[in-house]
């Protein structure tokens, strides 16, 4: 058909679009997300079948229990490798592959009795020999285990780890399904470290010594086994039919798409191509949380992280204790948290709330600009905030990680520190560079510090990152190079104590030292918002284990009963309500 539009029409339409664009720019817009595909049926019962699809922003480099220790790997490892002990839904340690765990009265011997009839992925029955072999494999001198020191209190550890003995003396088989582990001293964290994938029992195919090819064909005693693993592409797990818990798991398979941008994940989730997601951008998380249609299908996972800024106590200017204290007093934690509401929570102490809840008088760093200015004066760098004179005369490089919240937080710190006369210059580097530089002695004066609990115990927030033992010239976990004999002594006493009340009191003292000496300015904790489709049942964020989706199941009928037609036009992601509405 011939167009009947005149030049005036075209000009008029062009003008309208110009105005719309201008309004878009000036007024912003109201954004929406589509309602979920599928419905949640209250009367649905747990049934086997279905594939749960999800994604990771990162790649998963390894699935070898002895070496893979990052968050993404840990989520998958918890499905492939059952351990002797694990955490229940309340975060309490309970036996898993062990039927019972008996600690001795002096806390120096643990006797594990294994469940009978537990089948590994290769069909062999789990025995005590598998457990001993797997522990020795992980702690072998040639195995690049990231945290072998967690197990250094096992009798004979040093000799075995140094390659002087052929076996780990402290781990003894006392029957086909029983073994004892002897410790050199009582260790309150021992069962926590036994719940890590590092010491999960592996199939015989793993061998006695580390072999990097095992990562491509992992074999354990978990509810799922690896069906497909392509680096950077996909990981597909399928149900282990011989799993020791009868009737579980429910899912036929779980698939992770790897290296998928959070932006892409969000749209795939909205289209129904993903059943569960966690790595939302702040904007998308807000949109889903605000959407009435998505209420009840998502939850915050508990924060087991502490982040802030380390100050290298061996390097100027932060070898000056008052300058460190000035920084810790100058940062307004509430303002930092307000930048990413919900995801970031102000945190003025080292140990997160979920591990030690705050109570009145609990030692913590505080925001007090006047005190910060007094500390600057005590440090020898008085600053006049009215005239903006004085302060520390040199710019201090601040190391942060590219494409992470650490850079944004640093931009806020910069504003706070300028108000007390400290100028920082932000340097953004990639993760490997950050690790290499921040862990090298006398290299970085100040930078991002963050720590995620390896297990839910206060010790994990002190010993690996602030004890003297964690200082090394290279690859030092203690980036502040903070050495304090009083703190070291408290940490050893706390680790040896079996009395929870006494331990908490000791960690309180440790927290007071950190608040007073300020090797870190503790600023915030980070948490993720998790969301799943309404037809996904049996999942809630676990208090300790990330993405613990082993008991999830899919209501396949609910998936078909679509709340909106699949393929139907999606609600516009961006509705120019003001701009377009005003012109219609």
């Amino acid at each position: 058909m011939r167009s009947t539009r005149t030049k005036t029409d075209v000009a008029s339409r062009g003008g309208q679009w110009a105005v719309r664009c201008l309004l878009l720019l000036l007024l912003g817009c109201e954004a929406k997300v589509s309602p979920p595909l599928g419905v949640r049926r209250g009367d649905a019962t747990a049934a086997r079948g279905g594939t749960l699809r999800t994604a990771f922003f990162t790649d998963v480099r390894s699935l070898d229990a002895a070496t893979a220790f990052d968050t993404a790997s840990a989520a998958i490892e918890s499905l492939i490798y059952d351990r002797l002990v694990t955490y229940d839904a309340h975060g309490v340690i309970v036996p898993q592959l062990a039927e019972s765990v008996d600690p001795s009265a002096d806390g120096k011997r643990y006797t594990f009795t294994l469940r009978r009839g537990v089948l590994l992925h290769d069909g062999a029955e789990l025995t005590a020999d598998d457990v001993k072999r797997s522990i020795e494999r992980s702690l072998h001198v040639k195995t690049p285990c990231p945290v072998p020191s967690y197990y250094e209190r096992i009798v004979g550890y040093a000799a075995y780890h140094d390659g002087k003995t052929a076996s780990l003396e402290g781990v003894r088989i006392s029957g086909s399904h029983a073994l004892t582990i002897d410790l050199t001293e009582p260790d309150a964290t021992f069962l926590h470290v036994m719940a890590l994938p590092i010491v999960a029992p592996l199939c015989k195919s793993a061998g006695k010594v580390y072999d990097r090819t095992f990562s491509s064909k992992p074999c354990g005693a978990g509810p799922f086994k690896v069906d497909r693993y392509e680096n950077g592409q996909i990981i597909r797990l399928v149900r282990h039919d011989g799993y020791w818990q009868k009737g579980k798991p429910y899912l036929d398979a779980i698939e992770w798409s790897l290296g998928m941008q959070s932006f892409t994940q969000r749209f795939k989730f909205e289209r129904g191509d993903l059943d569960y997601m966690r790595e939302f951008s702040e904007a998308d998380s807000t949109l889903f949380r605000k959407s009435p249609a998505w209420q009840g299908h998502g939850e915050w996972e508990p924060s087991l992280t502490t982040a802030g800024s380390f100050m290298n106590t061996e390097m100027p200017p932060f070898d000056n204790r008052h300058l460190r204290r000035a920084v810790s007093f100058a940062i307004n934690r509430e303002q930092v948290a307000s930048v990413r509401p919900g995801h970031v929570q102000a945190q003025a102490k080292l140990v997160p709330e979920i591990i030690i809840p705050s109570e009145p008088g609990y030692p913590a760093q505080t925001f007090d600009r006047e005190q910060a200015l007094r500390e600057m004066a005590l440090a020898g760098y008085p600053y006049d905030p009215v005239r903006r004179t004085g302060g520390y005369p040199h710019e201090i490089p601040y190391l942060a990680i590219i494409d992470s919240y650490s850079g944004q937080a640093a931009e806020v710190y910069k504003q706070h520190l300028e108000q007390i006369g400290i100028r920082i210059r932000i340097q953004l580097v990639g993760w490997p560079t950050f690790l290499a530089k921040s862990s090298r002695r006398n290299t970085v004066a100040m930078g991002f510090s963050g720590w995620h609990a390896d297990f839910p115990d206060p010790s994990t927030f002190f010993e690996p990152i602030l004890s003297s033992g964690a200082i090394q010239d290279e690859e030092s976990q203690n980036a502040a190079f903070f050495s304090n004999a009083e703190l070291d002594d408290i940490l050893v006493r706390a680790r040896r104590s079996a009395n929870r009340g006494e331990r908490l009191a000791l960690y309180r003292q440790a927290e007071a030292i950190v608040a007073r000496e300020a090797p870190w300015a503790t600023v915030y904790g980070y948490r993720y918002f998790e969301l799943w489709q309404p037809y996904v049942h049996g999942y809630r964020p676990h208090p300790v284990l990330t993405q613990y989706i082993r008991d999830a199941w899919i209501d396949r009928d609910g998936r078909k009963l679509s709340g909106r037609a699949r393929g139907a036009r999606r609600a516009p992601t961006t509705t120019l309500a003001l701009a377009l509405g005003g012109l219609r």
Binding site: L24, L25, L26, L27, G28, C29, A31, F263, R266, S281, E282, A283, D284, T286, L287, K290, Q335, S338, V339, P341, G342, P397, I402, D403, G407, Q408, A410, E411, V412, K414, Q415, R425, I426, Q427, L428, T573, T574
Partner: protein, 288 residues
Amino acid sequence: MWDDRATRRFFANKGASVGLVLVALLLLFAILGPLLSGHHPDHSDFEQGRDALGQLAGSSARHWLGVDHLMRDLLSRLAHGARVSLLVAFVATTISIGMGAIVGLIAGYAEGTRARSLDNALMRLVDVGLSFPYLLLVMAIGAAVGETTILTILLVLGLTSWFGTARVIRSKTIQVRSLDFIAASRALGQSTPLIILRHILPNVAGPLIVIASASVAQMIIAESVLSYLQVGLPPPTATWGRMLQEGQRMYTATPRLVVAPGVLIFLSVLGFNLVGEGLRDALDPHED
């Protein structure tokens, strides 16, 4: 080179006029924008940066274009971004054009003479420079230098972008050098530097101006790309590329954070390119 006829030709070209207006507006925005907004581009407004629901504040009397993800005034950051972009673009272009002109003039004048080995050496250098992926080279230098400052950016952009200019100026120099008035100057005993500066340079200035105006647009894009890839100026310095990169996380909820710097990059590049084309047409005698 530039006379009344060239001026007439330039302003008769509607595209060139539009380009000139865009460039003028951009300059005006860079100069006056920060004064208009009244906010420091790096300072967050924690009091009014978010609404009651936690969403970033939109347009208001306090923040005309709203705020960014760190609750900083968007208008102020755009204006400072314009300053950075224009400063980098103009200075890097000056370096690039200066280098290109010097190398091109020397190589062109040396071509076919006893000093032709100099021409050969310079042109092989140009070949090597042109064979490198430009952006990769810039990123590699930026990464090697490590700490990026405005000086690093200027040098990196300026010193890696003169190769094409050198080649154009060389061929133009060869043309001009063979003209009679150059032979006459030489016969009168004028020195080589004087001949190059007084007689050849003015005759190759037309192409240089055209290349320069197009180069400004390229430099704006290059600086934005470097900032977008986070190898440009460090935060919190406001640059359009960085604003794009930071805004994309918020795109679904607050598209203006991406649209605003994107539109400014587009308009400024368009403006300089239109001016460049206008200059080319105005300075080309065959058009008359």
